[in-house]
């Protein structure tokens, strides 16, 4: 048995080395930076807790946090509804289902940067086919992009969850006279809880860290109405050139995300156990 443990550890070693070197070490470096005033060149000076206390005075950060939370709720709800709807639509084998699945999934094959550039043209006044103007609904265009790009991916994950539910469970319910809605709420949803939780966790985390879509499509405007948390981190690091402050905000965000995710997992485990 000991030998088997050693073998297992050996197989995990490449991943462990990469994670340690390219994730844990940079993370520690970020934490270390957050304790300092960290000039681009020259030697850092300890300035604890200035980088953290400044967070409270950062008005932009407050509005960005509020926006990011709203954005996360909007995206999570819409994306989940759309993806689940698509999954239900294509769950059964019937004619044309392969084509539909491919059509919904194909946007996933466009890289996110390329997809953002695509929408930059698609939604532009100059060449786009849609009646949008430069001052059009900035948040709306981002939501559209994210729905288009990610609905298919989430559909596929939800689809695998749907298909794992044994058919005879539904049969038994039908014999008992359950309606379609009852079956959905009493059978489908509870049995899919792990899959749903996985999809929701990914949506929430992804939205809280959203950056690329705003960076390319809206630049955070108009009037800072689409400035996300990570955009503020970017501004601290690369516009204000204050790496210590950027690191401080990152650490706080990271801790919040870790707490959120572990709560989600704890909740899940209890419910599904």
């Amino acid at each position: 048995m000991r030998r088997r443990a050693v073998t297992g550890a050996l197989y995990a070693t490449p991943a462990a080395i990469l994670v340690a070197l390219f994730f844990v070490v940079p993370l520690l470096l970020v934490a270390w930076m957050s304790l300092h005033r960290w000039p681009l060149l020259g030697s850092p000076k300890l300035n604890l807790p200035a980088n953290y206390s400044a967070i409270a005075d950062n008005a932009l950060l407050g509005s960005a946090a509020w926006f990011t939370v709203r954005y996360t709720v909007i995206i999570t709800v819409l994306l989940f509804v759309v993806a689940f709807g698509l999954a239900l639509l294509v769950q059964n084998r019937r004619r044309g289902v392969g084509f539909f699945r491919t059509a919904f999934f194909l946007p996933v094959a466009v890289g996110f940067a390329s997809a953002s550039l695509l929408f930059l043209g698609l939604l532009s006044e100059e060449v786009g086919p849609l009646p949008f103007s430069g001052d059009g609904p900035a948040l709306g265009s981002v939501v559209l992009l994210v729905l288009w790009r990610f609905a298919g991916f989430n559909m596929l994950i939800l689809l695998t969850g749907l298909q794992a539910i044994p058919v005879d469970v539904y049969e038994a319910a039908r014999i008992d006279g359950a309606t379609r809605l009852q079956m959905f709420l009493r059978i489908t949803v509870p049995l899919m809880r792990p899959t749903i939780a996985l999809v929701l966790t990914m949506m929430v985390t992804g939205s809280l860290l959203a950056f690329d879509q705003f960076w390319i499509l809206t630049r955070g405007g108009p009037d800072n109405s689409t400035t996300s948390l990570v955009m503020v981190i970017y501004r601290e690091a690369f516009v204000r050139l204050d790496l210590g402050s950027a690191a401080g905000i990152s650490v706080v965000l990271l801790v919040l995300l870790a707490v959120l995710s572990s709560l989600q997992f704890a909740f899940l485990r209890r419910r599904s156990a």
């Binding site: 050693v6 991943a15 639509l89 890289g111 390329s114 930059l120 100059e126 981190i233 990152s250």
Partner: protein, 263 residues
Amino acid sequence: MSRWSYYVTGTALAILFLFPLLWSGWASVRTDSGFGAENYARLFTSSNGIRPVHVFNSVVVSALTVGGTLVVATFAGYAFGRFRFPGRDVLFLLTLAILMVPYATILIALYVLLGWLGLEDSLVGLSLVLIVFQLPFSVFMMRNSFEAVPIELEESARVDGCTSFGTLVRIMLPAVRPGLVTVGLFAFLTSWSEFFAPLILLNSTGKFTAILAVVNMRTASHGSIDYAALEAGVVFMAVPCLVLFAFLQRSYVRGFTSGALKG
């Protein structure tokens, strides 16, 4: 759902989802005088357009990333799915936690690190970083794929005298093939089209990947965007991925079924 409403809804949604792709294809060949390849010509010949070396670099980075991700994620997935060893759960959670880090923050730290390793401004260094960012999805996928393989299959191999490595290569790999295809496919997609990491980690024009040139098209002349050439760039970047995804559809759907099932 009735047959009729199934087809109407499905078709309407399919048109909506395909529309942006079709539009970008159309916009990329539309010219002042009708249709033609002029936008593509501009994409490849303008002073800051895509050069053959950029495409070559993208191919190298993609190959390294796909290969590296497959090897590391397969070993790790096998370890997590079939072995018990100290630190297993911590390492697994740590791997998933990579998803929780704001990319913009640790890029500088990663850049510093690559410098220490003598890998700054190198395609290998960039690929290593991309592999790490592929790990959460890939390791999760491979662990579940390995868990889904019936334990009897592995045990019969061991009875036949196979080493654990022999079992992995000869018995397990064929069984987790859909998972491997899925992991490889997504590694390719990310490495081929990732923009921010190469921007920060590469310094010389000769090392640039193709996406950097495409984004350069966006901002080449301050005050106007060459949308047509930009869409040509988008199409150029998207086509290899679209072709692969269309061809390998059966595999990755099965990959998801066996891999992503368990939370």
